[in-house]
Amino acid sequence: MEAFFFWLFGLGAVLSAFFVVFPPFPNARAPIHSAISMVVCFFFLASIYALLSAHLLAILQVLVYAGAIMVLFIFVIMLLNIEQDEKEEIQIKFMKVVGGALAFSTTFGIVTRLRDPDFLAPISAQLVQELQDPTQYGNLKEIGRLLFNRYLLPFELTSILLLVAIIGAVIVAKRDPRVTWLPEGVKQQTARQRHGKTVLDSSENAVQAEAPTSAGDHH
């Protein structure tokens, strides 16, 4: 029974993860399709966590990843209407081939290392029985006990991390009035602006020359 569900959920997770990287319909909506396959992949992974008797983490996976993080992703994708740079998405370049070979060889190396017989040691039937009992393993009570005893300091540090992340996200995402919205030909414009700024520091005359162009960039 476990084998059936493992193959079902495992193959589903791998397939949906593959569709994240290579969306089936490469058009302008491909990022949304990637995000949806990612949600499906997270659901499959949550099922696998449940198969591993990690009940709390299965629920947290659905709530935090599929519920919060992916909603944030989809929100950002819809906020930025991306249309222009989707055509060059699936070009095969030399460095991409190198990257793909590297990823494949890493995976292959890990998988071949796993043939070490120590990993293959089966768990005892008694331990399996014990682990299947949801009152003993992987539930909120047991994890909470660990979290508030042994891992109390990391838990508190996590709260500080989340606070810093909230503040950082607000500050980074806030629109800076000094940064203008650059139209096409961004590279040259930013280079010119940077030159303009350095000149601006050294002499006052250049400021007069550069001022109309930078004022024209305001959106």
Binding site: F6, P31, L52, L57, T106, T107, A121
Partner: protein
């Protein structure tokens, strides 16, 4: 056929490989970011598989922390992507190379 620890680890390795493939091959910043989340999930799967097959729950707590870090990373990273798109009107990570020049 019983499912052992190896099966879960191979599954996690394959998911990690797909994630790293995505980071190296795709150039859309949001998709690259999603692939990073995928790699974090693969690592979570190894933690949970190990903790089950060792009969303890420390791995669950670590996976919990990884989820918290992933949430923080998603918030900050998406804010950075938002700002990147604002200044460059593009999400291609190869074009964000101002620091290289």
């Amino acid at each position: 056929m019983t499912i052992g620890l190896t099966h879960y680890l191979v599954l996690a390795a394959v998911l990690f490989g797909i994630g790293s493939l995505g980071v190296m091959v795709r150039r859309n910043a949001i998709v690259v970011f999603m692939c990073i989340e995928l790699m974090l999930n693969a690592v979570n799967l190894t933690f949970i598989a190990f903790s089950r097959f060792r009969g303890e729950m420390n791995g669950h707590v670590i996976a919990f922390f990884v989820m918290a870090v992933a949430a923080a990373e998603a918030a900050v990273g998406l804010a950075i992507i938002l700002n990147l798109f604002r200044t460059r009107k593009s999400l291609n990570v190869d074009e964000a190379n101002l620091m290289r020049h």
